[in-house]
């Protein structure tokens, strides 16, 4: 890691992205107090988890997917155990565990040993373990990996609810569409360095550049297309792409007259495009 500086704010998801081996897990484990940094510091609501273990009361971590729970115990037993181990009283842990089993749609499996659950269910239970003590900060490593569509959407919904209730969430994932849907901010790490950080909307706008999508009612004939290519029109239709400045766009629209235009819109970049550009550029 080299000069990594990250802030998590209440009510916000920070998508922490990067290729394999870039340093995501190392960073997450440093934040969780599981790995000492050679230099620098970690602060959880002002407390240093490396010096004050009680700082961990504010942190919930879902690490390495389904490898976070005891396979010989049931979901209820796991949640109660880890809830108490995180500082809850027994009665409170039991109440919270039942509430989470309902939320995570695991109620039917309350008394089934974890080893008999599907991978997706184990994954949801791991999320439950991280949420048991209702921490202010959550580190979620691939929370939707291996889940079926419905479960993944449910987990996404839960993350949104947690954000609305003021939690600060660090989300590491390779599912960039999930990150784009959930994250207010994004940071990309490459070879141990943060190579991009910013608000998701601003980053996407910056990378969208001067691209416009032009959709026509009917595709252009080869002759028309050949004539318009010199003005910057690309693609095969009926949706075409124009790359250039505003003035050029008006020239092109003028040339398209009187063809029926269905839509003209500024192209939006997605996080995948941003990620690939940034990672391949560095």
């Amino acid at each position: 890691m080299d000069g990594v500086n990250l802030h998590l704010y209440p009510g916000e998801v920070l998508a922490f992205l990067g290729p394999n081996g870039a340093g995501k897990t190392t960073t997450v484990k440093m934040m969780a107090g599981l790995l000492y940094p050679d230099g620098g510091q970690v602060r959880l609501l002002g407390k240093n988890p490396h010096q004050d273990p009680w700082a961990l009361r504010h942190l919930g971590a879902m690490l390495e997917g389904n490898r976070n729970v005891y396979w010989r115990m049931t979901p209820l037993e796991n949640l109660v155990y880890f809830g108490v181990a995180r500082g809850l009283r027994l009665r409170e842990a039991q109440r919270r565990a039942l509430e989470l089993l309902e939320k995570l749609e695991l109620k039917e499996k309350t008394h089934t040993e974890v080893r008999h659950l599907s991978r997706g269910m184990q994954q949801k239970l791991s999320l439950g373990v991280a949420l048991m003590h209702d921490p202010e900060v959550l580190l979620l490593d691939e929370p939707t990996l291996g889940l079926d569509v419905e479960s993944a959407l449910r987990v996404e919904e839960m993350i949104r609810e947690m954000t609305q209730s003021g939690k600060a969430i660090l989300l590491t994932t390779h599912q960039l569409e999930v990150a784009q849907r959930l994250a207010q901010r994004v940071a990309i790490i490459q070879r141990g360095r943060i190579v991009l950080e910013g608000r998701t909307a601003e980053v996407l706008a910056r990378f969208a550049g001067e691209h416009y999508l032009i959709e026509l009612d009917t595709p252009l004939s080869p002759q028309q297309l050949a004539a318009l290519r010199s003005l910057g029109l690309e693609g095969q239709g009926p949706t075409y792409v124009y790359q250039g400045d505003n003035e050029g766009l008006w020239r092109l629209l003028e040339a398209l007259k009187p063809l029926p235009i269905k839509k003209v819109a500024r192209a939006e970049a997605d996080l995948l495009e941003v990620f690939l550009k940034v990672v391949n550029h560095v």
Partner: protein, 256 residues
């Protein structure tokens, strides 16, 4: 903390109740191990040999060794297993800190271990015809042995945390426990003095004396045994704390 002890106890009880074959397997293995040693020794001594009251002493010594063995290696086995299954990091995320949690885990595990050893004791008494009648006060020196055993367990767990695969070392070193539990503290001179500084020895010597020759409890010796046990527990915890620090610095808490 009481709630944490309760959930740890429950975790250990669930493992016992849900996997009774492991419990039964433990009783059979330990009983067979003792019987093979016992019958083997009788065979070697010849048909005229009669252990008489020594059988009770041998059996009591064996059960004490087994109990100490659990105290010694359960932490290392537990840590290795958790590193393998991936729950170790979650255990280290406790705000209580790993050492208080593991101390409570030791205490909670004692219940099921006593149940196992009690069952082995009953089986062996039935097989050998020996009758163990332990004076209640003998549990005090046994407690000092357990405390020292947990200290050695923490020291060994330090190695388990850093190197993960320590089963071979655990296997070999458990015979060292036999030496410590049978150390001749009754002898004179430097051997006796040295004994008071070795782990487990003062408590084991005291318990052995009370069990075999029905000697009364020497409260002065008991105080020394407690001091010895607590010193080794403190040493073990200090080593483990150092190992946790090293493991966090080198990123050894995860993976196997």
């Amino acid at each position: 903390m009481f709630d944490l002890l309760w959930v740890e106890f429950k975790r250990s009880w669930i493992n016992l109740r849900r996997y009774p074959s492991e419990f039964v397997g433990g009783v059979i293995t330990l009983s067979l191990f003792f019987l093979l040693l016992y019958l083997g020794a009788r065979y070697l001594a010849g048909p005229g040999a009669n252990f008489g009251e020594r059988t009770e002493a041998i059996l009591a010594g064996f059960l004490l060794w087994t109990l100490t063995l659990f105290a010694y290696n359960s932490l290392s086995f537990g840590l290795s297993e958790e590193a393998q299954t991936g729950t170790l990091e979650q255990v280290f995320l406790t705000p209580y800190g790993p050492i208080p949690l593991l101390l409570l885990r030791n205490l909670a595990g004692l219940g099921t271990q006593l149940l196992l050893i009690g069952s082995v004791g009953l089986v062996l008494m039935w097989f050998t015809g020996a009758r163990l009648s332990l004076p209640p006060l003998v549990f005090l020196p046994i407690l000092t042995v357990l405390i020292g055993g947990y200290g050695l367990g923490f020291a060994m767990a330090s190695l388990a945390l850093l190197f993960k695969r320590v089963q071979q070392l655990l296997g070999i070193s458990q015979f060292l426990l036999i030496f410590l539990l049978q150390y001749p503290l009754e002898s004179e001179g430097w051997l006796r003095t040295l004994g008071y500084f070795l782990p487990l020895v003062p408590g084991a010597g005291l318990a052995r004396g009370m069990m075999s020759s029905s000697a009364g409890l020497d409260w002065g010796a008991l105080a020394l045994a407690f001091l010895n046990g607590l010193a080794y527990l403190a040493l073990g915890i200090a080593l483990f704390s150092r190992a946790v620090h090293t493991a966090k610095r080198r990123g050894l808490l995860f993976g196997y």
